[in-house]
């Protein structure tokens, strides 16, 4: 569904991605792991067109979308839950969710209402706070709102950039439970960027590990969970975390 080949992205003179290649199959949950500054978010920003890659290609459903505008990429069915949530602080919860539907063009009221109901079923707290402005929500609620907003786009590919960042452990569990159910129930393909490797590997079928802008490991989630190297660098030795 998504195939990235030898992608290189620069910020000024700094090369953030050095020939990254990866593939996400239809219906899969693929995880992108790596420490801070490894280039994970840059990869997401390149896919969504917020930064223009200098070399390489991004192909979505056999169409080359490299260098296309962010707006047009989102209209092709790629939704993004950005790092840091980026909800609209001055809009209330329901209006934030409505913004998620913009990429689908004009929709009948009934369909929008149906979609909202669906999101409120997944995140009941959002229904309770639907008239609250975004900035009044807690971090966890904002994260749920950001995911809900992404789902309102009914995407074929959902990009989740560090959805567990800054959340309390119990909320992290909740967020991953939702990610799994999104994939299982609607068959949405998911590319999940995470620092919490153990959690990410528990929902993903396949994962890529990024370090200093390059893919240093790629394998099925099971194999990576058993990998010695992986344990030393990303899974915190033998100890449990998250």
């Amino acid at each position: 569904m998504l195939r990235i080949e030898s992608l290189s992205t620069f910020y000024g003179a700094v090369q953030a991605l050095k020939g990254v290649s990866l593939e996400v199959r239809q219906g899969a949950v693929v995880s992108l792991l790596g420490s801070n500054g490894a280039g994970k978010s840059t990869l997401i920003r390149s896919i969504t067109g917020l930064v223009a890659p200098r070399a390489g290609s991004i192909v979505f459903k056999s169409e080359n979308i490299t260098g296309k505008s962010t707006e047009s990429i989102s209209r092709r069915g790629i939704a993004c839950v950005p790092e840091g949530r980026h909800i609209f602080p001055g809009l209330n919860v329901e209006d934030n969710l409505l913004m998620g539907t913009v990429s689908r063009g004009k929709l009948p009221q009934s369909e929008v209402a149906e979609n909202l109901k669906e999101i409120y079923r997944i995140f009941p707290i959002l229904q309770e706070f639907k008239k609250k402005p975004g900035w009044q929500l807690s971090g966890g609620q904002q994260q749920m709102l950001a995911i809900g907003r992404g789902l309102m786009a009914r995407p074929q590919l959902l990009l989740l950039d560090e959805p567990s960042l800054g959340l309390a452990p119990v909320l992290v569990q909740e967020v991953f439970r939702v990610i799994r159910s999104i994939n299982e129930q609607s068959g949405t393909t998911i590319l999940l960027v995470e620092q919490n490797a153990r959690m990410a590997l528990s929902v993903a079928s396949r994962a890529y590990v990024l370090a200093t802008g390059q893919v240093v490991m790629e394998n099925s989630a099971e194999k990576l969970l058993a990998d010695k190297e992986m344990h030393r660098h990303y899974l915190g030795g033998g100890k449990k975390e998250g």
């Binding site: 962010t70 707006e71 989102s74 609209f88 602080p89 809009l91 900035w135 009044q136």
Partner: protein
């Protein structure tokens, strides 16, 4: 007697405050959407007044046709303004854009003089009623027209931004551009619409204030500054603040001019602004920090 004068002053203050509010809103809405301060906002008040005088007097068209026509023309001006003065510089820092809006301001002033002449002109009033007498209080009917039209426009604007999809998309663009783009919101189009909307607010101010004073190429300069003052007093960046600050400014200015000195009328506005900047720089309704994050 004293009471009558105070009520008369209040109406005059509310009317001027309404004009400032329309100008301030235009400045604030552009600032929020595009992160630039438009220094040509005052000239967008002057230009429609000239066009209206031309259509009413020279062409002899009726007011009911002239007002909508001027607003449509000005919407077009707002569109061209955005494409010429903002769009090519949108990825630069705010300074080049500010300089370019100052350039537009100079161009519009001199353009108006070239086209319409250097002499002050009189804009015909929309009503033949000379004065309104309400329980002994004498009021210029134009004040009532200004206050009522502005209030209606503000209600319509509130409805537009809070209830329509387009209004919400414009708010989203102003609040977080990257997130808006990720949603598929065409932010370039949203910003263009913001400029058009803001220009229309200014032109309504021009049409309303035109009959009160002479229409000259300089009329926008002071009006623009007062609107800017109103926005700062209310809390720069806040829509409600811009309205409150401007109305407050208009009313207090009229009272100070009457009771203290009318010669210093304009100075009072700036003294108040400086005091606000010194003692409450965030304005009456300081923008909520969380809203900027």
């Amino acid at each position: 007697m004293d009471m009558t004068i105070n009520v008369q002053l209040l109406f005059s203050g509310l009317a001027m405050g309404s004009i400032y509010a329309l100008i301030a809103l235009g400045i604030v809405i552009i600032y929020r959407a595009a992160d630039v301060v438009n220094f040509a906002q005052g000239e967008l008040v002057m230009l429609p007044a000239f066009i209206a005088v031309f259509l009413l007097d020279t062409m002899g068209l009726p007011a009911v046709a002239v007002y909508p026509l001027v607003i449509i023309c000005m919407g077009l001006v707002g569109f061209i303004f955005e494409k010429v003065a903002y769009y090519p510089l949108r990825n630069r820092s705010f300074l080049p854009v500010i300089i370019s809006t100052i350039g537009v301001s100079i161009f519009l002033k001199n353009g108006a003089q070239y086209v319409f002449g250097a002499l002050p002109q009189v804009m015909p009033r929309p009503t033949d009623v000379e004065v309104l007498v309400l329980g002994g209080v004498i009021i210029d009917p134009q004040y009532i027209i200004i206050i009522v039209s502005t209030s209606l426009l503000l209600v319509a604007q509130h409805f537009f931004f809070e209830r329509t999809m387009l209004g919400k998309m414009m708010q989203a663009t102003a609040q977080d551009k990257d997130a808006a783009r990720l949603m598929g919101i065409p932010i370039a189009r949203m910003i263009a619409i913001t400029f058009i909307f803001s220009t229309i607010l200014a032109s309504v101010a021009g049409l309303l204030v035109g009959p009160l004073f002479y229409v000259t190429k300089e009329m926008g300069g002071m009006a623009g500054l007062k609107g800017f003052c109103g926005a700062i007093i209310g809390g720069f960046g806040s829509v409600t603040g811009a309205i409150l600050g401007s109305v407050f400014l208009g009313v207090i200015e009229v009272y100070l001019a009457f009771y203290v000195s009318s010669a210093y009328r304009d100075a009072f506005a700036f003294i108040i602004m400086i005091l606000v900047l010194l003692f409450r720089p965030q304005g009456i309704l300081g923008e909520r920090i969380a809203q900027k994050a």
